[in-house]
């Protein structure tokens, strides 16, 4: 992302949560504007070109979804991240249908928010049309759906390959469990078990066991990241 594209609009009515967001996002290198209500969000959103707009579903004046629709109608192309306190799938789906690009349920971890913002911001970048992706000594072939490290093939089930592909595409970024469920399994809820950890654990054994260095790393309390050392 270029410098001008690290500008984010945060729409949040709770002052303390808003304060925390601004502080942490600023620390992470974002330029943050804050809107405390729906009308404020409408004027700010239309005035400036933001990389991402995060919007709370419940605002004191105008509903978050309505604000988003309005800005879309005004031709604002920035991706939206809906933050909903309701945590109900139909609300999420309604949010997405109305033009939101991702959602997050309150309370969320800041790292999760950051991961989502990174993923959303990346959308505007050109997507590479390569058929073989490489991270360190790992290579995955998107056509033959095979993976290898230092030329040695890794046997993966189709879903395991999908998971690895998602991690590779988000190389160096933190990917949360919920994001994995959403993108690899198309599930829009959290099974209240450690099933994702168990699944990633198996992929990790296949990919990292008896290799020079590990590629898949656990990010405590959030999820995983795939990166080569150095």
């Amino acid at each position: 992302m270029t410098g001008s594209h690290r500008r984010i609009l945060v729409v949040e009515d709770d002052p303390e949560t808003a304060g925390q967001l601004v502080e942490q996002l600023t620390t992470s290198g974002y330029q943050v504007d804050l809107a405390g209500c729906g009308s404020d969000a409408l004027s700010r959103g239309a005035a400036c070109d933001y990389a991402v707009i995060t919007i709370d579903r419940m605002l004191p004046d105008i509903d978050g979804i309505t604000v988003m629709r309005q800005l879309r109608d005004d031709g604002i192309a920035a991706p939206f991240l809906i933050i909903s306190a309701l945590g109900e799938v139909d609300d999420r789906v309604r949010g997405l249908r109305a033009g939101g690009d991702d959602y997050l349920v309150k309370p969320f971890s800041f790292v999760e928010l950051l991961a989502r913002l990174e993923a959303l911001g990346r959308r505007s970048e050109t997507i590479a049309k390569e058929t073989i992706l490489r991270v360190g000594d790992l290579a995955i072939d998107l056509i033959s759906r095979t993976a290898s490290r230092r030329g040695t093939g890794i046997e993966l089930l189709p879903r395991e390959f999908q998971l690895l592909e998602y991690l590779v595409r988000n190389e160096g970024r933190v990917v949360s469990r919920a994001m994995l469920l959403q993108h690899v399994w198309d599930l829009h809820f959290d099974p209240s078990t450690n099933i994702i950890d168990v699944y990633v654990g198996r992929v990790r054994r296949k990919v990292d066991d008896q290799q020079a260095y590990p590629l898949i790393h656990t990010v405590r309390g959030v999820g995983y990241t795939l990166r080569a050392p150095g």
């Binding site: 303390e16 925390q20 309701l86 945590g87 349920v105 309370p107 800041f110 879903r159 198996r202 309390g221």
Partner: protein, 462 residues
């Protein structure tokens, strides 16, 4: 359908018993009337005949055989005595005088009462009139038969008989028809109440039993049931309101709390011990939030709103995805997780929710099944309805606890120390209720088998 229900209803059975009892009493009364009427009429004519026999015997004793013959001839020609029959014969049965033309030989046998038919010529009637007569043996051995034409009497008792039979039959038919009509009405109203109850169970509390405006006892029953439903709806609404408010009001402080903890966690001047402490606190907070999410999720499923998004789904596909997802978890317990059954089983429902329900059951089967055991997920069509079954070969649970496990936060003694919050099966139950599906539990000996029986596609959308 309604007729079958009418005929099997208890009201109709009671009506039949009443008709039977009533009919038996009426038949008894009518038979008594018939018997006593015909008996009375008969005994009157019998008394008249006996009196006449006594008169003629007097004449015989006073004026001898010739005198009686004369009297018989005189009476035969007299119009007043039309319908009377007199026959006098000697001891050898040779007829001496007769009004009826010939001696009915049958009646010669002995003295006493008899009934017989005489030739039509004896009177102006057509046909052979029926005569009831009494034969007497006179002093000289001569035989005297005195009789009366009882055709009229016979016709009369015949009419009474017909009237009685017709009347009783009519009563039975009318009572039968009336009881069917009344029962049908009752069954119809009850069926209406039943149908509404079923609809309420299937789709939520927004329906009410229709009133007819007749202010009869059925309307009152319906009114009271509707009032009860109103009350339940209000209570449910209040509970939902409370949990919604709770969810909303708690989430804001929890978000702040989590934010602060995370800030502290990523802070610079922090000892390793403090960091671990905060990290653990965050995990615990997340566990609280997950329980929270589960409860609101179950509550949301129970509002039935998601029914609107139902579409045709292939249970096999969903089950396969669950099996794929839980394959790693099974491997960790050295268990074998496999699929069985058909290649395609269609049902109407919500993919995410069905996935969640099957996932919960599979998760349970792996966790509570035998380590190194077998878990089989099978999709099939049983009696037309799509069924997903999840079976393990672990210790199972006692049959008397089958119902209990679906309660929120319920945990079996044996699983109290395994991870989980006791909400999984209540979520499964909520999903099943939303889909109108039935959950059956079986002893897999060894182990436990859950069966999710969905309604056959096509029967669900009414």
């Amino acid at each position: 359908m309604l007729l079958a229900k009418t005929l099997t209803s208890s009201t109709f059975k009671l009506a039949l018993i009443a008709i039977g009892t009533f009919g038996a009493i009426v038949s008894a009364i009518f038979s008594y009337v018939y018997l006593s009427t015909s008996g009375y009429v008969r005994s009157r004519s019998d008394r008249a005949i006996m009196a006449e026999v006594a008169d003629l015997r007097d004449v015989y004793e006073r004026s001898g055989r010739e005198g009686l013959i004369g009297l018989i001839r005189q009476r035969t020609s007299d119009k007043v005595f039309a319908g009377h029959v007199y026959v006098l014969s000697d001891p050898a049965s040779a007829v001496l005088a007769a009004s009826a033309g010939e001696w009915p030989s049958r009646t010669m046998a002995a003295a006493g009462w008899s009934e017989f038919r005489v030739p039509a010529a004896a009177s102006e009637r057509t046909g052979r009139p029926l005569v009831r007569g009494m034969m007497d043996i006179l002093a000289g051995g001569d035989r005297l038969l005195v009789g009366r034409d009882i055709t009229d009497l016979d016709d009369f008792t015949g009419q009474i008989e017909t009237a009685v039979i017709f009347g009783v039959s009519l009563i039975f038919v009318l009572a039968g028809v009336a009881s069917i009509l009344v029962t049908r009405r009752t069954v119809g109203r009850i069926e209406q109440i039943n149908a509404t109850s079923r609809a309420i169970m299937a789709s939520g509390l927004d329906q009410r039993i229709p009133l007819r405006g007749t202010h009869d006892e059925w309307d009152r029953v319906a009114e009271n049931l509707n009032l009860m439903l109103d009350r339940i709806e209000i209570l449910m609404g209040e509970v939902k309101q409370v949990s919604d408010n709770l969810a909303h009001d708690l989430r804001t402080p929890l978000t702040r709390m989590r934010g602060r903890l995370e800030k502290a966690y990523h802070g610079q001047r922090l000892g390793e011990e403090a960091q671990t402490l905060i990290g653990d606190t965050i995990s615990d907070l997340d566990a609280v939030l997950r329980i929270f999410t589960s409860i609101t999720r179950i509550a949301q499923i129970e509002t039935q709103v998601r029914k609107q998004a139902f579409r045709s789904v292939n249970l096999v596909e969903i089950a396969r995805e669950v099996v794929e997802l839980y394959d790693a978890a099974a491997e960790q317990r050295h268990s074998c997780l496999t699929m069985a059954g058909n290649r395609q089983v269609l049902a109407i429902g919500d993919r995410d929710l069905i996935f969640d329900a099957i996932a919960n059951l599979v998760d349970n089967a792996i966790k509570h099944g035998r380590e190194g055991g077998k878990v089989v997920v099978a999709c099939e069509i049983m009696n037309g309805s799509p069924v997903v079954s999840i079976a393990d070969d672990g210790p199972g649970i006692p049959a008397d606890q089958y119902e209990q496990v679906f309660k929120r936060f319920y945990r079996l003694e044996q699983s109290r120390y395994t991870p989980g919050n006791g909400l999984g099966l209540s979520l499964v139950a909520a999903v099943a209720r939303l889909h109108g599906a039935r959950i059956d539990m079986f002893d897999n000996s060894p182990g436990l088998q859950f069966k999710l029986c969905f309604p056959a596609p096509g029967t669900q959308r009414q």
